[in-house]
């Protein structure tokens, strides 16, 4: 989309968003973007690791439950989910909480079972 094709009522920022959405329609691998220190663009899907395996979702702010379901870890209440930030620690994702996958540094997830026993 060039300057001549810009609709007359579209601001520069809107135009930039339109271009981004037009071009970046593939799957973003979050670990790759985290290594580059860049925030992933808006994409059709987002690929990330939960523990060792890679999974995809097709929204940029999925819930904790959506991420666990994508990883086949159900029921979600049987698992904890933590977000690993590049160069940082693990942030606990609470039930119902949404994760912004386009946040810079989002690298991967760690899911751990909650069935350890006492005694």
């Amino acid at each position: 989309m060039n300057e001549q094709a810009r609709p007359p009522d579209m601001s520069g920022e809107e135009l930039a968003d339109a271009i981004r959405e037009e071009i970046l329609e593939e799957i973003a691998d979050l670990e790759e973007y985290a290594k580059l220190g860049k925030a992933p663009p808006r994409c059709r899907g987002y690929r990330f690791r939960v523990n060792r395996d890679r999974h995809e979702v097709h929204e940029d702010k999925p819930t904790r439950e959506t991420i666990l379901e994508a990883a086949g870890l159900t029921p979600a209440g049987d698992w904890t989910l933590r977000l690993k930030l590049s160069g940082g620690g693990y942030e606990l994702i609470k039930p119902g909480e949404r994760v912004d996958l386009r946040r810079p540094g989002v690298e991967k997830f760690k899911a751990l079972p909650r069935d350890q026993t006492e005694g």
Partner: protein, 136 residues
């Protein structure tokens, strides 16, 4: 901070990022001590303690197990915490043992579990205490 034995690189990286001052101490067994470890819930008698994890022979192929706290944790509401009666002398102090174990359904998996995942589970054990039995 003492470093009386070496940990695998991924464990050192985890501990450095975790934010608690940490030590490796040999006292009968090799132990990792995390100082200022947050107890996750205001219902405990301490906001932070020292958490000790015994590094089992054969680790990281061998599973880690349980956690030990100093000073001992209790619930402010007076309710007992299950399977915490045993104690462990360590580094000149008496630690409270939280007897918590991996299950057959979700056992320790070599290459997937390590000191870092164990520490995250310890956080969850502290939180679950008040989920299963909310503060009175």
């Amino acid at each position: 901070m003492r470093r009386q034995f070496e940990l695998p690189e991924e464990d050192r990286a985890f501990l450095d990022a975790y934010g608690c001052p940490w030590e490796t101490v040999v006292d009968g067994s090799p132990w990792v001590l995390l100082h200022g470890f947050a107890t996750q819930d205001a219902g405990y008698n301490h906001d932070a303690v020292t958490a000790a994890i015994r590094i089992e022979t054969g680790y990281p192929k061998a599973a880690l197990d349980m956690v030990y706290f100093y000073p001992a944790l209790a619930r402010k509401d007076g309710r007992a915490i299950g399977a915490t009666e045993a104690t462990q002398s360590l580094d000149g102090k008496v630690f409270q043992r939280w007897s918590r174990h991996y299950t057959a359904a979700n056992p320790w998996v070599v290459g997937q579990h390590n000191l870092g995942t164990h520490v995250l589970m310890v956080e969850d054990w502290l939180m679950r205490e008040f989920e299963k039995c909310p503060a009175a």
